[in-house]
Symmetry: C2
Subunit: 482 residues, 2 copies
């Protein structure tokens, strides 16, 4: 078997970093004078100590670079280890959450899913609310880096198509992964700060603006109020919709844009397709409400825009009870969630580029059916697509659909009804957050589910966030034989 120590070393360091991040909510609770700060002090000490010890224990195994197996194990290991420690404040704090609930909330945070098992969010200490926002914000930047740097190398889910691109299109200026990560992080921080300003300008308190900006740019969806965005005024809804859309675009395009080349941003066919689908969705959702009410109103348009964008980007905020809009709207939102945003963003799900690749392949095939001896090559963004990429995308799509089915059946086995099982599986696997129906819909909550269902959903979040194969590959025998 291969050496596990380099993996443990990095995980240890990241766990310790998470512990350090707990100092922020500690300070907030200290400033608020609510007496809740010792929770974060305890959690921070435990987390930093545990992380430090793991890193220390593995330090003698540090080497140059990671093997393929080590990289896979690291990716999944990080998203299992961090939620364990990220859960501590929920277990120790005012929420007094049981292990399953604390882990569910932390996994939901770090995978930017945004399903919550907590109620009465308004009454929670400020530190805990900030911690929820921080988990999503860190999870969001973490996943972009993984998607840009690791997944292309691992050739998972067709992400290798962005391998050459990320390096090429920056014109060899940014040859190293670390530099890409740094540039993207700056964009991430910059967008978050702009979002804070917009929210404050439209009436949120600085604290709410900060937490919600974090969960907006992470397309995470955790909110400080049980009512989600229904707690805020119309102006915030429009700003949130704008920033959710921005957060679902490929971040590498922003890097290029700030470097002075707007062309890649404006000419990206993935962005065009994403915006096109979102526009159609908003029009149809508005129509569904207008036909139901017999009149076209601004709240209907705003509700369609905000909630449509929220589900399609996988953010998961709600500003209205869209279960009241009828089965047509519910199904549209369900399938929009299975489309998702762009690759290289914080949004999850199948993602637009995979549908584009699948359809490009199908178009080439239809052409081949007409002219069996012709040569037709599927193309994406003007370049030919290799069989390797197409096969990866296909594997992703099949695994996604089959996993969705298996998770749905598993949930129904624990006693959930049809719609809750299917929409819950989709909401977790695509990291959206809310599902459909009374229980886990926009006005509901995951608190009432049984423990088995919660563990199942937490697993689905992990698998979905890491593009399925990056997790599944670890369960194969050949992986451990290498």
């Amino acid at each position: 078997m291969f050496d596990l120590r380099p993996v443990g070393y990095v995980i240890g360091l990241l766990v310790a970093t998470l512990g350090a991040a707990m100092l922020l909510p500690l300070l907030v609770d200290l400033a608020a004078g609510n007496g809740h700060w010792p929770v974060f002090a305890q959690s921070a000490v435990i987390t930093c100590l545990a992380g430090g010890l793991i890193a220390l224990a593995c330090a003698n195994g540090v080497q140059q670079g990671l093997s393929l197996q080590q990289t896979f194990l690291l990716t999944t290991g990080v998203w299992v280890a961090l939620p364990v420690f990220g859960a501590l404040p929920f277990a120790f704090g005012a929420t007094e959450a049981r292990a399953v609930d604390a882990f569910f909330e932390a996994m939901s945070g770090l995978t930017t899913t945004g399903s919550t098992v907590l109620t009465g969010l308004e009454t929670l200490p400020a530190g805990l609310l900030l911690w929820r926002g921080l988990l999503q914000w860190l999870g969001g930047i973490g996943i972009i880096v993984v998607a840009m740097v690791f997944l292309p190398e691992l050739r998972v889910g067709g992400m290798q198509i962005f391998r050459a691109e990320a390096f090429d299109t920056m014109g060899k200026i940014l040859p190293r992964a670390a530099e890409i990560a740094t540039r993207i992080s700056s964009i991430y921080v910059g967008l978050t700060m702009l979002c804070v300003l917009a929210y404050v300008a439209s009436g949120m308190s600085p604290f709410d603006a900060t937490v919600h900006a974090m969960t907006t740019i992470a397309t995470g969806g955790f909110a400080n109020y049980d009512a989600s965005f229904a707690a805020f005024g119309p102006a915030t809804h429009y700003w949130a919709a704008l920033f959710m859309v921005l957060a679902a675009l490929p971040f590498v395009r922003f890097v290029q844009f700030t470097a002075g080349t707007a062309r890649p941003l404006l000419r990206d066919s993935q962005i065009h397709a994403f915006l096109g689908i979102a526009a159609v969705l908003v029009v149809l959702l508005t129509a569904a409400q207008a036909l139901g009410a017999g009149a076209f109103t601004e709240p209907a348009l705003r509700g369609a825009l905000f909630n449509g964008v929220s589900i399609m980007t996988g953010t998961g905020y709600a500003s209205a009870d869209y279960m009241q809009w009828g089965a047509f709207a519910a199904l549209l939102l369900f399938f929009a969630g299975l489309v998702g945003g762009c690759a290289g963003s914080t949004s999850c799900s199948v993602k637009v580029f995979r549908y584009q690749l699948l359809f490009a392949s199908i178009r080439a095939q239809l052409a081949r059916i007409h002219a069996p001896h012709g040569v037709f090559e599927p193309r994406y963004q003007g370049r030919p697509v290799s069989e390797d990429v197409l096969n990866s995308v296909m594997a992703f799509f099949v695994f996604f659909v089959v996993t969705l089915g298996v998770i749905s059946v598993a949930l129904s086995m624990t006693g959930l009804d049809f719609v809750t099982s299917v929409s819950g599986a989709a909401a977790a696997l695509a990291n959206i957050g809310p599902g459909l129906g009374e229980e886990i819909g926009p006005t509901g909550n995951f608190a009432g589910l049984n423990d088995t269902a919660k563990w199942t959903l937490a697993f689905a979040m992990l698998v979905g966030r890491l593009e399925l194969l990056a997790v599944y590959v670890i369960f194969t025998l050949t992986f451990w034989r290498a």
Copy 2:
């Protein structure tokens, strides 16, 4: 544009043949003395005349063989033209069906879907019941011939993998398509006769036995009673389950078996996988009932066997209200229907071999992830699978899932609820018959749906029966430019 006359000629002949088939229900109604025979006389005259005139008008275009375009147009044209004329007895007869209902019923018959808009089946003239059975029986043999002879040539949905096989494994004894068709038809007739005998032996009247044997071997599911198989005793359920399984196996294996070689039948990995999945399904469905009732009973096992096999093979009979078995059973049945039977049988849906091919491809890819420079070839039944076949299967799967989504949304737009929309779309596209929920579930009926929903479902049946791409290719521009 290409010559349409050869296509019209064959369609005309087939329409005339359908008209001739109306003489059977005519004779039955004449013998029953119910005064209903003129309906079939009128229908037969119109159908034979129309078919004859079409054939005559196109006769001067007859040529040797059909081009690719002509073959595509013929396949879809047949399954549009025959339902139009097959609908006449429902419009003229005791059912006095409106155009949409008559067409729905005939399309549901000829595609072997088995969804019905008729109620009070017990009270219908015998001729009409026989006509429903005949439509499914003819549709069933028609689709096997299309699947064995046409689709592999058209390279649709990965069926080309059976192209070499059908000819090869018969050891060059059967080089011509017509001979394959003849042999398979004999098996089809033979199985139907055995099924009639089994049903009569277990207590059905000869008439019921004949009609139900026809709809069993066609995995069609039309029944003579509103209660479906709940109208018959336990022994019929076991026999029906056996014959539904046989009808979902690749018919070419029976041809080889009757030619004296049992080995291909026994060693077919598609058959193994199909029987394995069906066994797991029956065990889980039995468990779902036993856990609910607190006891294991014969009716529970029989209900699980009969209804599980009925949905998985896409037959669509019901012997119990399986909506009462809970959400777990409902979801299991829903996904079992999306698996389907074996290729080269009368059953529809995605089919077992496509999942096998997709998973073989994924396995090869996982191996490639571990060892990026190794060469891993997906294999099926011991042979390497070409990229062409894999791409076709992938295209089929993507189109299937996307079409399922689009049809679901379209149905919800007409006012159907979530479960009815999704399960109705699946039931039509996979040619199963019944859906889930009150309205179109095992105890329900499609009569109450609005007309738009009925047309949409009829279209889904057609598209699903012809493996999607065979229909979609006609909507492409390049098709007509050839």
